[in-house]
């Protein structure tokens, strides 16, 4: 029973991951991006749970709970932790228009399929077949980091990048050892907290969080 559903469940989860990534590029509102990030965290947790059940590893189910609490609930809550009224008004004015950005997402996804199937030589298993999604998320995360101007939007790009790496890890090798998984989650959580504090300081010092203002240091 589960075996017949397994490829479909993997496809569903990875599809949700890719869809949320593309929507993050499309939407310009910060609140929408944070909600998409929460959804993506849940999809990633579901993916890990599915792989865990299929491989019969209870450890992975534990990891899935960890991911759900950190990426699905914790991080989005930290990011959204300011008055709802002000966050709703924050709109990003990216360097790329939405059409060009979505086109870039398509190209990056195709590129990652080519790279993963040709270079890594994966793709004979169900999970290996879905592995390019992880790389595509990493590349889309880079796209967000480069094309966004606001501090918090760049932070979302960084988290997308990190989700992509986690996806790739689970799809290629069933996840890294659990101790490392804890260390990675803790590191990411702390980096996000630090950047969040800096974004707050930026708002008080510069009167806004546009990263373009950071131009005092140069040669």
């Amino acid at each position: 029973m589960f075996e017949t559903f397994y490829p479909q469940l993997i496809g569903l989860c990875t599809g949700a991951l890719l869809l949320t990534s593309a929507l993050m590029v499309w939407r310009h509102s910060l609140l929408a991006s944070i909600r998409l990030l929460a959804l993506q965290g849940m999809a990633l947790a579901a993916l890990v749970a599915v792989i865990g059940i299929a491989e019969g590893e209870p450890e992975l189910v534990l990891v899935s709970l960890l991911i759900l609490s950190v990426k699905g609930v914790g991080l989005p809550w930290v990011l959204a932790h300011q008055s709802k009224a002000s966050i709703k008004q924050i709109q990003e004015s990216p360097r790329l228009n939405p059409t060009a950005a979505l086109l870039a997402v398509t190209l990056l996804t195709i590129l990652s399929y080519v790279v993963v199937s040709r270079v890594f030589g994966l793709g004979d298993t169900t999970t290996g077949h879905a592995a390019p999604i992880g790389l595509a998320m990493v590349l889309i995360g880079f796209l967000l980091l480069i094309s966004r101007r606001r501090a918090r939007s760049q932070l979302i790009g960084f988290l997308l990048l990190d989700n992509g790496i986690a996806t790739l890890a689970f799809l290629t090798s069933g996840g890294v050892p659990i101790l490392l998984e804890f260390a990675v989650s803790l590191d990411v959580l702390l980096v996000v907290l630090i950047l969040h504090v800096f974004a707050g300081r930026m708002r008080t010092k510069f009167g806004g969080t546009a990263v373009d203002q950071l131009r005092e240091l140069h040669d």
Partner: protein, 482 residues
């Protein structure tokens, strides 16, 4: 002996806790010095154990100290001691709440670097390197000015994205090991020649991991955070970051290289690191010629030296003893220079080179050590940097990388000229319009750490036993027999 492995991890954590608990006590300013001493002492104990032929490990093989790890740990401790002792804050300023956090973060930073060099798992090593970014983020932004905030933002974003790329590489290396009997991230197991790791995954993983750690070690073209962060951080932090954090990232590259060399041979990473090294030298040369800020000048000098070390790593076993000696010499001298630059900044009140003139006449207490350390950093003998540079260049010729080291030599000459001009501009000359002044012989801080650092660097290259033996053992660990 294996309990010694825990001292550099637990010791600084205890001191960090003390710093937060000590309240308004002035004792707090010694926390950094105490943590560095703990790291240095355990490093030296481990070195003596390694020279005695044992390889201490602990925590079920999670921590391990072979010759290379023990040597790196000693370097972390030594450079930490010079930076924190030389940059000791005054008793009055150490009573504030800011100072508590500052000292605690320095101690955490030292613990994270110690974990990075002691971990026998490239995954744990990755987590520790990322932890150094976390510990130093607020240290770079310590002054809370607009400039330091800008530097800290760029540092954390570029540092964590770079290290995230390294994680991607490590994930792929792990995926390669899943195809074998025992999936592992232990580099001891991964660098056993008989494992049959998948070459395609190791190539991609190795390239990404090296690219990521190269960002952290300040190699061009991923260097843009470095001059900002190193010039805005408080002097002891700059000394620690420039002196050892960059080398700890280079250590990670060495470990990755020892895995990829076995599976795909040395050629691939050799090309990558040669290009990165030469680009770094080029960037440093072109930006040093017209440099106006002396702390940024020191930061670009770090990019230069890391570039040359990367070329040494590219050359392979023949150059590795020189590279390892280089790590120690550069670390001690760069820490000294940053400490003195902090004192100059404090008494002169400006980081601009052209505003600091005739230092030798006006403030010989600062100018004399500054000149000696500058001579060491541009590579005058008897300081060990000279011997390391010569060693790397000779090794490059011998393995057929003559073109690369030739180009490096030309760029080194340009950098030498730029440094000489800037240093002369700062120190030599008569004070403006003959105004009356009294020469200031004060060193504006502890003298002993500076004397110790300069003396160590001047003599270490002549000590064959045990330094030479240790360096050869460390090279052997990386799969080279020299």
């Amino acid at each position: 002996m294996s309990f010694v492995l825990w001292i550099p991890l637990v010791g600084p954590l205890v001191f960090a806790g003390l710093s937060l608990l000590l309240g308004g006590s002035a004792l707090r300013r010694f926390v950094g010095v105490a943590a560095s001493s703990a790291v240095l002492v355990s490093g030296l104990l481990l070195v003596s154990a390694v020279l005695g032929g044992s390889v201490p490990d602990s925590g079920g093989g999670m921590l391990r100290a072979d010759a290379l790890s023990a040597y790196m740990l000693s370097v972390v401790g030594a450079v930490g001691l010079i930076s924190t002792w030389g940059g000791l804050s005054s008793a009055a300023s150490s009573r504030t709440k800011d100072a508590a956090g500052y000292e605690a973060l320095i101690a955490l930073f030292l613990a994270a670097m110690s974990l990075a060099v002691l971990a026998d798992s490239i995954g744990l090593m990755w987590a520790a390197v990322e932890a150094t970014t976390i510990a130093t983020a607020f240290l770079v932004g310590h002054h809370r000015t607009r400039r330091s905030l800008e530097a800290a933002w760029k540092y954390v974003i570029l540092g964590s994205v770079g290290v995230a790329i390294a994680l991607l590489g490590i994930v792929l290396i792990y995926a390669a090991s899943v195809g074998t009997d025992t999936p592992t991230l232990s580099w001891v197991l991964l660098s056993q020649s008989t494992r049959g790791l998948d070459p395609a995954l190791i190539t991609a993983g190795g390239a990404l991991a090296v690219l990521g750690f190269a960002t952290k070690s300040g190699l061009a073209p991923m260097h843009s955070w470095l001059p900002d962060a190193h010039s805005q951080a408080p002097a002891p932090v700059s000394g620690l970051m420039s002196g050892v954090l960059l080398s700890v990232a280079l250590y990670a590259i060495l470990r990755i290289q020892s895995i990829t060399n076995l599976v795909i041979g040395p050629e691939f990473l050799r090309t990558m690191l040669s290009i990165g090294g030469l680009l770094s030298l080029l960037v440093a040369a072109s930006l040093l010629i017209r440099q106006r800020d002396y702390k940024r000048m020191l930061a670009y000098s770090s990019i230069e030296h890391m570039g040359l070390m990367a070329i040494g790593v590219a050359i392979g076993p023949a150059a590795l003893p020189s590279v390892l000696l280089y790590i120690l010499g550069h670390g001690l001298i760069k820490a000294t220079l940053f400490v003195i630059s902090g004192r100059i900044l404090k008494v002169e009140g400006t980081p601009v080179i052209s505003d600091v003139r005739a230092l030798l006449v006006r403030r010989p207490g600062l100018a004399v050590p500054w000149l000696i350390a500058m001579a060491a950093i541009v590579g005058f003998p008897p300081f060990s940097i000279f011997f390391s540079e010569v060693g790397i260049i000779m090794a490059g010729w011998s393995v057929g990388l003559g073109g690369v080291v030739g180009a490096a030599l030309v760029l080194l000459l340009v950098i030498f000229a730029a440094f000489t001009r800037l240093t002369v501009q700062m120190t030599i000359g008569a004070p403006p319009d003959g105004a009356a002044f009294t020469p200031d012989y004060s060193s504006h801080g502890p003298r002993l750490p500076i004397i110790l650092a300069l003396a160590t660097t001047a003599t270490v290259a002549f000590v064959a036993e045990p330094v030479g033996t240790l360096l050869l053992q460390a090279t052997a660990v990386l799969g080279g027999t020299n």
